[in-house]
Amino acid sequence: MLETESPELEAEFTATVTADGRIEPRDWMPDAYRATLIRQIAQHAHSEIIGMQPEGNWISRAPSLRRKAILLAKVQDEAGHGLYLYAAAATLGADRTDLTEKLISGRQKYSSIFNYPTLTFADVGVIGWLVDGAAICNQVPLCRTSYGPYARAMIRVCKEESFHQRQGYELLMTMMRGSDNQRRMVQESVDRWWWPSLMMFGPPDDSSPNTERSMAWRIKRHTNDELRQKFVDMSVPQAEALGVTFPDPELRWNEERGQHDFGTPDFAELMRVVKGNGPCNAERIEHRRRAHEDGDWVREAAAAYAAKRAARAKGVA
């Protein structure tokens, strides 16, 4: 696809985007828009794929068959989301093999939340509730994002994630009605995941340099801090209904603002994790790399077989 520098094309692009229209794969788009989108969609796809691990860790040990089925189906959905998103990235000219290479070599990132370990089965519920909840806050606006294939993928993803979030919350509800030890597990898990969940919205707006351009392009529709506030306001009553508390002494309702005040996450920790030094970064990448490399011979065989078949079909034709 040839990139033509043309003021008219650029004007048309800007007009479409500003009018909340959709850019489709065949439309002209600025190089930087394309590059930003590829990076964002790839990171999102990688997050789905890496996100299979922390929850996948509990499939074999899920303590009831119903929960095992729900969890397995959820992790399977994440693989599916990865597939839709890689397909969306492909419409921008990105090659999946290349993106996978970037993931396992650490050149492309994924959501830092998946660099935390899952320590108890309550984490499965809390990830559904808080982590998927935060993801949905981030992603719902993307269903109206300017790039068509991405927006359509996000509609499907968001629908399934809402379902996962409800399942996670329902698991926690069940556990809170169970034994004392289960209630202890849920609270302990909430204590670990609350701050990392707040960090899923990224650094504060005043240190998020690309927000403005992404908003102009309608790739992003709200600032990090707006979304974070929304998530806190949404989560507090849910926590009350559940009977758990968040580990933030500054958290309280601010009548004046009509919103909750809350403490500042440890963004220095976020930066360390983003830079590769979280509790599970090495493990996650290593797992993906091993799975990929263990599968080399299978993919090669499938390609060789397809080539043989094509050759035979040709021979017959």
Partner: protein, 253 residues
Amino acid sequence: RADLAAYALMLGDDALILSQRTAEWCSNGPELEEDVALANIALDLLGQARLLLTRAGEVEGAGRDEDRLAYFRDEIDFRNVRLVEQDNGDFAQTIARLLLFSSARLALFVRLSASADPVLAAVAAKGVKELAYHRDHAAQWTVRLGDGTEESHRRMQAGLDRVWPYLEELFTAHPVEQRLAAAGVAVDPGELRAEVDAVLDQVLTAATLTRPDVAPMATVSGRAGRDGVHSRPMGYLLAELQHIARSQPDAVW
């Protein structure tokens, strides 16, 4: 009735344990599409297991539900064949096992759809579609790997060689099966052999692979999986499967 409960347990345990093994592939497959496909198969098997264990518990009438049966039985009380409990090995070995199991189980469920027990008949009828997909999936990969590269051919043959000794157990009628088959409730698995053999031969031929010439895995004085006599991997599988449930016996999930 004890026979019916035991039979539902045999089939249910097969599905449960193979589901557990198959789910181990989740996030470890050779490509994302395969993660999805194997998770699907594991989910189908888990669904079959839940129906069958529930049925076993109902017929037994001792108040044991699917979870009680899955999580609170000892190894020697599990009734699955030894094929399903083996470690996954590489992708080829997993496919080889799936090919053997799904071919035999499909042939069984086709017949079992006409069981005198309406619940078994319904479970089997529902399972036929699922197992047909599993068998196709396994057959396609067997052909692709057998007729792919030199390495994949070698691995696929090795995978078949490794699991083949466990095939015999799928055709060996337990006294429970014999009695229930006589009553039109179960299927005598010995009857399936010719049909399954034909399917396997066809797949192996298309895959340019050789039917393994190996002795059936020995029993322990005549006892095997259906009698609770399992192989080394089973205990470790159960440790993982049951640990959390056993750790919190008073919990509600």
